[in-house]
Amino acid sequence: MTEETTAPLKILVLVKHVPDVQFDRHIDSDTLRLDRSESVLSELDEYAVEAAVALVESQGGFAAGHEVIAATMGGKSASNSVKKALQMGASSGIHLNDDALAGSDTVATSKALAALIEHVGAVDLVVTGMSSTDAETSVVPAQLAERLNFAQLTHALAIEFDGASRELTIRRDHAERTLSMAATLPAVLSVTDQANEPRYPNFKAIMAAKKKSITEVSLADISLSAAEVGTAGSRTSVLNATARPAREAGTVINDSGQAGIALVDFLAEQKLI
């Protein structure tokens, strides 16, 4: 790789503040919205931050002028996820903070994020996790590629970047095949948990993150109106949401030599064989 000729890369990594998957998660039966009080950086976005920072490190590092901007949208507390990304090595943050964003579906979310990315300007590469852990649609990266007219390199199992040609190559599963796919920047890259091992910020990184800035922007700053996002700007409406009854533990037996037979008896009883 010819580092000298690599023009500085402007990478924007999208991070989402989501309810912690380790706890019970709830959808409010009146508002039909997810309770977001116990939220953290989506664990799948850690792979995106890692991929962005590692890509910069492979191209001469931040000293070469490359940038990794951690971006999020959502209420006030969402900036905590940007802070975590800064600790993992992102160089700065931007937070689209507006109450009107609440209730955005994928169409409205991708509209707001595309406007945010255009507001930042001259972005070469947008990096995301493979899916959010709350809505789990995994389609926003593809919708961003559509809106920004960027190449879609999604669900990457492995990532390679050639600085000289500015070509990004990924591996991805597709039907009964694994494909290697390449595109010249600009691109949207979504990263699976197969692609890397996210770093754990050390004390020095945590201290360094405190000096990094997070810019706050409103919808007006990115030239969107409240009606274009949130519930009003969504193309879907949720009619109801019901918790499925929690699964209950059934019979548990200790194997004293015949448990395999007991298992088959159980399957026969349940008419499963």
Binding site: V107, V139, E146, A183, T192, V252, D255, G260, V264
Partner: protein, 314 residues
């Protein structure tokens, strides 16, 4: 009555179970059409006709293009069919194509559906299946990706005349993404993991040997799955991974062997109809959601169960 369009990127002579489920779903609607972004053989056309679909759009692909061709075919067929609802499979590729065209045509997109009623109310899973929700479009074409194993495959008895129309797709611009290499995956005789009636999955507890898991799966004519610990260890391919970052399964019977039951693993299997767990640790979280649990060594329990099934079937 609204009209439906089903979209497949590929269709082999023998449509997959998930594809047949989508065709069944489409047959609930009026004047349903199918669009396929590749060649469709006469055999496949005969199967499609059995679902009462009236029209087939085909647009043979132009070599190894990734998403661009599928996008053009879906866009053109949505416009030509003027369908109210577009039904696609729930895999990453199809939902991404549907979601992009929804943006392009100012439509709505809903993923992880388990049912679509004729009034276009969609029932879907939320939060890894711990909630069930209903949603609809607020206007514009509705694009829905439907989970496999959600609809019963029910072809109609009398085949209808299928009108086949080849779409003229002009690729105006060069594809943004080039496919530089393609590797075929090993084909298995077992049922497809996402479509199987029975799944037997192994975790770190198999300790490198999937033999007992595979043997029990074969005795039950089921598919083989795994936890991430097992796929990360390289004991089985990544395709077998079940969970948050693997595939989601919802079979009639799920047998979990040597898997602790971490939250990310449960996310991919907790909507199974019946769960059986074998684990040597009585405190393994998987027992909290198992209908039948065995505290024991999988290397003893699985072979004994497989042998007993074969004995009873003999």
């Amino acid at each position: 009555m609204p009209s439906a369009l089903v979209f497949f990127n590929e269709l082999s002579d023998v449509p997959s179970k998930a594809q047949r489920e989508l065709l069944t779903l489409a047959s609930r609607f009026d004047q349903s059409t199918l669009a396929v972004a590749s060649e469709v053989s006469q055999d496949a056309q005969n199967v499609v006709a059995n679902y009462g679909l009236s029209k087939l759009f085909v647009a043979p692909s132009q070599g190894d293009v990734f998403v661009d061709h599928a996008l053009s075919v879906l866009e053109a067929s949505v416009k030509q069919s003027a369908a109210d609802v577009v039904l696609v499979a729930n895999d990453n590729f199809n939902r991404e194509v549907a979601a992009r065209i929804a943006v392009r045509l100012d439509g709505a997109v809903i993923t992880d559906a388990i049912d679509v009623a004729t009034d276009l109310v969609v029932t879907k899973d939320e939060l890894a299946g711990s909630y069930s929700a209903q949603a609809q479009s607020t206007g514009g074409t509705l694009f829905v990706s439907v989970k496999p194993n959600s609809i019963d495959d029910e072809p109609q008895s009398s085949g209808q005349q299928l009108e086949v129309q080849t779409l003229e797709i002009q690729s105006a611009t060069a594809a943004q993404v080039r496919v530089v290499a393609t590797e075929a995956k090993a084909v298995s005789d077992r049922p497809k993991l996402t479509e199987a009636r029975v799944v037997v999955a192994g975790g770190r507890g198999v300790n490198g040997d999937f033999g007992p898991v595979e043997d029990l799966a074969d005795a039950l004519a089921g598919a083989v799955g795994a936890s991430r610990a097992a796929t990360d260890a390289g004991w089985i391919t990544h395709d077998a991974q079940i969970g948050q970052t693997g595939v989601t399964v919802s079979p009639q019977l799920f047998i979990s062997a040597g898997i602790s039951g971490a939250i990310q693993q449960k996310a991919g299997m907790q909507t199974s109809k019946c769960i059986v767990a074998i684990n040597k640790d009585v405190d393994a979280p998987v027992f909290e959601i198992a209908d039948f649990g065995i505290v024991g060594d999988l290397s003893k329990v699985l072979p004994q169960a497989a042998e007993e099934i074969r004995r009873r079937q003999a």
